[in-house]
Amino acid sequence: MQNTATNAVEAESIVKTYPGGVKALDGLSVTVRPGEVFGLLGPNGAGKSTTIKILTTLVRPDSGTASIAGHDVLSRPDRVRRVIGVVSQRSGADPMASGRDNLVLQAHLYGMRGAQVERRVSELLDRFDLGDAAGRQVRTYSGGMQRRLDVALGLVHRPRVLFLDEPTTGLDPEARAAMWEEIARLAGDDSLAILLTTHYLDEADRLARRLAIVDGGRVVAEGTPEGLKAELRGDAVHLELREAPDERRVRSLVEALPGVREIVFDGRRLSARADDGAAAVPIALAALDQAGVPVAAVTVARPSLDDVYLRHAGRRFAHTDEPVTAGAGGAR
């Protein structure tokens, strides 16, 4: 019997290099506590899917250790497979079979029998609102329906840990909202821990109780969304300059202003943190104007996860392919 205090996921210093020399994971560590929803947030290519593949026994890491609900991923993959549910980034459902057939097969593969299978399958079809489409081939399903079926497939055997790899990517806003609601509902079940990956800040913010920001195959920040934002102390001030600035000059100018810190350039965009954003803006505008640096737009905001990401990864989230100080690419 597993101790209920055993962590749902424990991964320590995982390294994975793909043939061709791509270092997908570079010492990633992550812990998911029992019953919680944990988010892995990161841009494309950060290593989220690779992490999921390793934790779900699909791929072996080069080094590092991992366990799921106390079972070692490397030495006891058979045990791990019984306690996990996996919804991978690509749908795993058989498009030529019906939704019901997919679920029935899945139930049998997890060792269910007879009436138990029937009961569980109809329960899931109802719950995920797939009852009417149950007999239809999956390839006729809408994107949202397919995704709901994927989640249902992951839940057939009542896993202790559910992995959701980018569950809402590619869904239209309506289907996305429905999926969020579904995940929130699953989160209410204290016996189920969820490890969710996403490249949507708002999704992580909204669904994850704790999250880790992944960048370049490692965790760069970790905590609750509120805690991470609170760490930033103060408001985020974003200035959009009319032309590419002389960074050194503008930096020293802004740095000299009272209560302003953490200045980061991203093309023509300048981001900083201010104890009191509303007070800092007029002073900053005046100072820049005087120095002959025209400003196109200003925003002041409570810190967002985007700001957390900016702070830890050194670049903005939305266009993470470009290095921080790259020349003209700043506008978005």
């Binding site: 699909l58 791929v59 019984r82 996996v86 690509r90 058989d94």
Partner: protein
């Protein structure tokens, strides 16, 4: 053991259900053999009269040839199914479930055996309509079908292995294009061995397609040659086992590359 049995059962069930869902495909795969049978059967009828050909009629001779050629040609596409399953993510879903690796593989082998058996049986029946007779009787036909299943297993395992390792449809198409006709014509499928040039006969001795012909024809003959059946059937069985083992190993290699 019982988990392996249950898993094999359900994985096979899934595949056979997919096969039944698409009966048109089964019919399609029979068009070509039917053409071979009636076209070649008509065109080369007089070949059987050649001295040293050694068969009562060309139709009798041709049916095993068409059966084994069709077994190779339809099983050579198995890799396409593997690539489909990889691209859909279905294979990965199974690999993170408790399902035994060998059950995934068994299901493929069984599906292949069932569809090859049906296909071969239909060809035997069509051969009958085209005027062939089977002196070896039911037993001879059964041996021919088993030989075609084993031959099919060799090539479906080869194709699946390529699918897992290379994951490119072009490779599977290439395999089929480059192997099918040489294998067929470097064998006694359409021409008696005694009438072949030496070099072809030498190559044919190593051709698994030829082994299955020797097995099938040996059993279908007036006076069955059970020794030839046992020897060539043994070779077929051995190679099939080897190829299936190879495709099992290629799962590991696949998992390293994803």
């Amino acid at each position: 053991m019982s988990a392996l049995f249950v898993h094999t059962w359900w994985m096979t069930h899934r595949r056979l259900k997919a096969l039944m869902r698409n009966p048109g495909l089964v019919v399609m795969t029979l068009v070509q053999p039917a053409i071979w049978l009636f076209l070649f059967g008509g065109l080369f009828r007089k070949v059987a009269e050649l001295p040293g050909f050694g068969a009562a009629s060309y139709a009798d001779y041709l049916v095993p040839g068409v059966v084994v050629m069709s077994a190779v040609s339809s099983n050579m596409w198995a890799g396409m199914g593997v690539i489909d399953e990889i691209e859909r993510g279905t294979l990965n879903r199974f690999l993170v479930s408790p399902v035994r690796r060998s059950a995934i593989l068994n299901a493929g082998v069984i599906e292949q055996a069932v569809s090859t058996a049906v296909q071969s049986l239909v060809i035997v029946f069509l051969g009958r309509l085209a005027g062939a007779s089977y002196p070896g009787g039911v037993l001879g036909v059964v041996v021919l079908i088993v030989a075609s299943i084993l031959l099919g297993a060799i090539f479906s395992a080869l194709s699946s292995t390529m699918g897992l390792l290379v994951r490119q449809r072009e490779t599977i198409i290439g395999l089929s294009v480059f192997l099918l006709l040489p294998l067929t014509f470097l064998s006694s499928a359409f021409m008696a061995e005694d009438l072949m040039p030496d070099w072809i006969r030498n190559i044919a001795a190593f051709n698994p397609l030829n082994w299955s012909l020797d097995t099938g024809r040996g059993a279908l003959a007036d006076v069955p040659d059970w020794q030839a059946v046992a020897v060539h059937g043994g070779w077929l069985l051995g190679l099939a086992a080897l190829m299936i083992l190879l495709s099992t190993l290629s799962f590991r290699s696949y998992q390293k590359s994803i």
